[in-house]
């Protein structure tokens, strides 16, 4: 397991939710296997292949499933023993269990009142949740007529309405059009900035990257990586950084780089591109702008081919096999 | 990497517009049902029933005891009509066994999207499915009785026998066609409206006019003396039409043309409802 080194001493009072040796099995099938993880405020992306255990982990952390072993602690207390803690948690899950014949607003008010709020409070909170999720216009139409994207938004509103401290969102953008996706991603970033603890599970990696740099990667029921994307990338030793430089004379550039200790490989991938491999690319990145300013090199642009979440995911899962 | 064992290749063949577009639906559905053990058992039993009739007929014909001319005529044709009616149990069983799931499962699994993104119209789909049910209906009614007729004609010693019964196959074809179409449309309609086989089966039995409806209409007829109550009993009306064309006794108190009207009306209503439930534009995307 790759654990990114903390950049500052851990402040455990900041950790709102943690799991300790959490396991859940279904007969012989193990959903999550001995997970110990701390979730701090802000946005965390939960990633993993289908069937890796993401939904199970969410349900356990949200208190919808009882652990077979281990414990989930919210603010230090065992979630299984303190029902009141559910007030702090909001959950957006996959299955559609909406009240089709009610309007969006009616449904939200109803569900919020179930949480124990008075009618006025429920109306207020509903209105705020509708505003935040940009559903005010459609709020007074029946849920039955909602498009897939709107159904997701109303589920999001429902998870928010009681103003929870912790939010678990399982594929929240499923079916949303690009406008709603952008609005929802902005909302999630805001919630993270407000100090809420938000965990978002998504297969659309570039959207996860747009919301946070912190990820939790689950593979076969266990944690494969936990921390900041950049730091995780740097900690993966098996895959050197691959940097592609577009320039007019790749061979001339290659002869400059070959003497560098940190460069392990050079490849003239085309007549105007040079591919560099480096375990510790700091020097490479320092030198590139200098070389680029030398007109005889003709360096026009460069990019790191695997400095993104998609490559990171591939490497981690591949190595985890 | 998209390169698996073989890359994508274009196909050299030509796709022709086929005259019977519904044929693959019929064929696949029929064969799938045929493979089940219960189907073979029932088919065997259905044919066994007709076989027994054949044995009895053999005895009668050889003994020559049916020599009365006018009596012979009536017994001749109506014998085959009775044979067909006698297969009712099997027809009903097959209509329910092969038909209740035909549309409901397609709707549940959204298979209709696959059908209607092909060059198929809703009528093709209906014809194909109806064909499956009809094939079984024919297999246990028309086919065995046809063979019975061939047997009877071959075996009879009376001179006039063929002359009295020559029309039996044509009449049987017509009657079984009507039977299959009506029963089939009704079960398909119900299959497009409900999901659970048990509900569809029970509804079909009720709508067809068996058991409950039959009992109720009889009571009503007794109480009010009004024979038109039977108009709601599809089964009775179908039998009335059968009796009419085969020249047998007609138990219902009204003219057979009314029965024809009922049958056509019920069939049309089932078709219209069925069409409404499988509209491609609603189902695809």
């Amino acid at each position: 397991m790759i654990q990114a080194p903390p950049t500052s001493p851990p402040d455990t009072s900041m950790v709102v939710l943690k799991t300790q040796n959490l396991s859940r099995w279904y007969g012989q099938v193990i959903g999550v296997n001995d997970l110990t993880v701390d979730v701090s405020p802000g946005v965390t992306g939960l990633l993993g292949l289908n069937g890796a255990g993401k939904s199970t982990l969410f349900k356990l952390m949200a208190g919808q499933l009882k652990p077979s072993a281990g414990v989930v602690r919210v603010c230090g207390h065992d979630l299984a023993h303190y029902r009141g803690l559910y007030r702090l948690i909001g959950f957006l899950a996959e299955p559609d269990a909406l009240y089709e014949s009610m309007t969006g607003r009616e449904m939200l008010v109803y569900l919020t009142r179930l949480q124990g709020f008075t009618k006025d409070e429920a109306n207020d909170r509903t209105q705020r949740a509708l505003q935040r999720t940009h559903l005010v216009e459609a709020a007074d139409r029946r849920v039955k007529g909602y498009s897939k994207g709107m159904r997701q938004k109303i589920k999001l509103a429902q998870a928010l309405a009681h103003d929870p401290q912790i939010l678990f969102l399982d594929e929240p953008f499923n079916g949303m059009d690009p406008v709603s996706r952008k609005e929802s991603m902005d909302l999630i970033r805001e919630l993270g900035a407000e100090g809420k603890t938000v965990m978002v599970s998504s297969h659309i990696l570039h959207e996860v990257e747009a919301m946070t740099s912190r990820i939790l990667l689950i593979h076969r029921g266990q944690i494969l990586a936990d921390g900041d994307i950049g730091e995780i990338r740097d900690a993966i030793e098996r895959h050197p950084h691959r940097i592609e430089v577009h320039c007019d004379s790749p061979r001339a550039l290659a002869s400059e780089f070959i003497s560098l200790q940190d460069v392990q490989g050079l490849r003239v991938s085309s007549e105007n591109a040079l591919l560099l491999e480096s375990d510790l690319p700091r020097e490479v990145y320092r030198l590139l702008p200098e070389f680029a300013l030398r007109p005889e090199m003709g360096v026009r642009s460069w990019t790191t081919l695997d400095d993104n979440l998609k490559s990171l995911f591939e490497y981690l899962v591949e190595d985890g096999r | 990497m998209p390169i698996y064992e073989q890359g994508y290749t274009r196909w050299e063949g030509e796709i022709q517009a086929r005259p019977m577009r519904f044929w693959p639906i019929l064929r696949r559905g029929f064969l799938a049902e045929l493979k089940r053990r219960r189907t073979l058992i029932l088919l065997f039993l259905a044919w066994a029933a007709v076989l027994i009739r054949g044995v009895v007929l053999y005895g009668d014909l050889r003994a020559g005891s049916l020599l009365q001319s006018s009596g012979l005529l009536k017994t001749g044709l109506s014998f085959f009509y009775s044979a067909l009616k006698g297969q009712s149990v099997f027809v009903i069983l097959f209509v329910l066994l092969s038909g209740t799931d035909l549309v409901s499962k397609d709707r549940r699994f959204h298979a209709l999207q696959i059908y209607f993104s092909r060059p198929l119209t809703p009528n093709d789909y209906i014809l194909g499915k109806l064909g499956i049910v009809s094939a079984f209906v024919f297999a246990v009614s028309f086919l065995p009785v046809l063979l019975l007729w061939i047997f009877a004609v071959a075996v009879s010693v009376q001179q006039g026998y063929f002359a009295t019964v020559w029309s039996a196959p044509l009449l049987a074809l017509f009657y079984c066609g009507l039977w299959a179409a009506l029963a089939g449309l009704m079960v398909l309609m119900l299959s497009s409206v409900a999901q659970r086989s048990a509900i569809i089966a029970v509804s079909w039995v009720l709508l067809w006019g068996l058991l409950v409806v039959d009992g109720v209409t009889r009571i009503l007829k007794m109480l009010t003396g009004w024979s038109l109550w039977s108009l709601v009993n599809v089964d009775a009306n179908l039998k009335q039409v059968g009796a009419w064309i085969f020249g047998a006794d007609r138990p219902l108190g009204y003219h057979p043309l009314l029965s024809v009207f009922v049958i056509l009306a019920v069939g049309a209503i089932c078709y219209v409802i069925l069409r409404k439930r499988i509209r491609p534009v609603e189902v695809v995307l």
């Binding site: 990633l47 993993g48 292949l49 289908n50 069937g51 498009s147 994207g149 709107m150 499923n174 079916g175 059009d177 690009p178 406008v179 709603s180 996706r181 297969h203 990257e209 747009a210 940097i243 990145y285 320092r286 702008p289 300013l293 026009r300 642009s301 460069w302 990019t303 400095d307 998609k310 591939e314 | 990497m1 998209p2 698996y4 064992e5 073989q6 890359g7 994508y8 274009r10 196909w11 063949g13 796709i15 022709q16 517009a17 693959p24 799938a32 799931d101 699994f109 959204h110 298979a111 999207q113 696959i114 059908y115 993104s117 060059p119 198929l120 119209t121 491609p280 534009v281 695809v284 995307l285």
Partner: protein, 308 residues
């Protein structure tokens, strides 16, 4: 039909559901390759797709797909196109190879041809080993690929795909997009991809149609090779890139923050990345530039501009 004929053509295409007009006088022409169909919810995308599939009545001459009028000859049309729908679809009681063969037969192939093709196509989409397995054991990714197989079995000239990566995990999405790219670019099958995932469209499509409220807001090519761009650059890396942006602004250029970096618009008359690099080297706190690339106009840019 020559390879220069448009695969899609609409001429003043309108559609209404009762009183409500859903498509307003759409007019466009699309050549071969891969075209993305984009639009917010309620833009009329689904209605347009249904019209092009020949499922909705349309006055003659208003629409043409592969040279065929969907209102006049919907059956002839559907012999030459394939559809990968968004929602789950299975034929009950069949395994993958039976289903794919059946789909081919329903299109008009002989059962022998359909079966042969079914095996080939299932291997192509990566379901070769699993083709006899019970469909209930299929993962989401496998079901999506099966949908692609049934759309390809009859060798269509045009395939419509509606959210083809729905529910697939990252490796699955990669595979699916790669398959789509391959069939549209290497194998000459045209593709219409309807999706809300703009980066997917960026990766696979040559052009996009953007709809809003039943009207065509934009038709644009997707730029894949912006290396000739001189003024617009994307800068990503480690360190305080916003500070780099601010300093660039001081020097007369402009920037906007983007995910993990900044997008720089250099002032006119200055080309190439030099100004950016000089500025970067002049900063007191060094930045590590890991990505410095000319930024073409993305599908996302086109989309948000078109619908505003």
């Amino acid at each position: 039909m020559s390879s220069f004929d448009p695969i899609l053509r609409c001429a003043r295409l309108s559609q209404s559901y009762g009183e409500k007009k859903v498509l307003h006088e759409l007019e466009f022409e699309v050549g071969g390759g891969a075209v993305g169909l984009l639009g917010p919810n309620g833009s009329g995308k689904t209605t347009l797709l249904r019209t092009l599939l020949g499922l909705l009545p349309v006055p003659p001459g208003c629409a043409q797909v592969l040279g065929i009028d969907p209102g006049l000859s919907p059956l002839a049309l559907r012999r030459r196109i394939g559809l990968v729908p968004e929602s789950e679809c299975l034929v009950p009681g069949m395994n993958a190879v039976e289903l794919t063969g059946y789909a081919g037969e329903l299109t008009g192939m002989s059962s022998k041809d359909a079966m042969q093709r079914a095996h080939q196509v299932l291997y192509y989409v990566g379901l070769g080993e699993a083709r006899y397995r019970d469909l209930e054991t299929y993962s989401q990714g496998m079901k999506q690929r099966l949908k692609l197989a049934q759309a390809l079995v009859h060798d269509p000239d045009l395939v419509f795909l509606d959210e083809p990566t729905n529910g697939m995990d990252p490796p699955g999405r990669e595979t699916m997009l790669a398959l789509i790219r391959e069939i549209s670019h290497a194998k000459g099958v045209s593709v219409v991809l309807s999706s809300h995932l703009l980066p997917d469209v960026q990766e696979t499509c040559d052009s996009v149609l953007i709809l809003k409220d039943g009207r065509l807001r934009s038709q644009e090519a997707v730029s894949h090779d912006p290396l000739h761009e001189h003024l617009l650059f994307e800068v990503r890396g480690r360190g305080d890139l916003a500070a780099l942006g601010e300093e660039l602004r001081v020097r007369g250029h402009d920037f906007t923050p983007i995910q993990n970096g900044i997008r720089v618009r250099l002032k006119e008359g200055v080309g190439g990345p030099e100004p950016i690099l000089q500025t970067a080297l002049s900063l007191p706190n060094p930045v590590e530039i890991r990505h410095l690339m000319p930024a073409g106009r993305t599908v996302e840019d086109s989309f948000f501009e078109a619908i505003d």
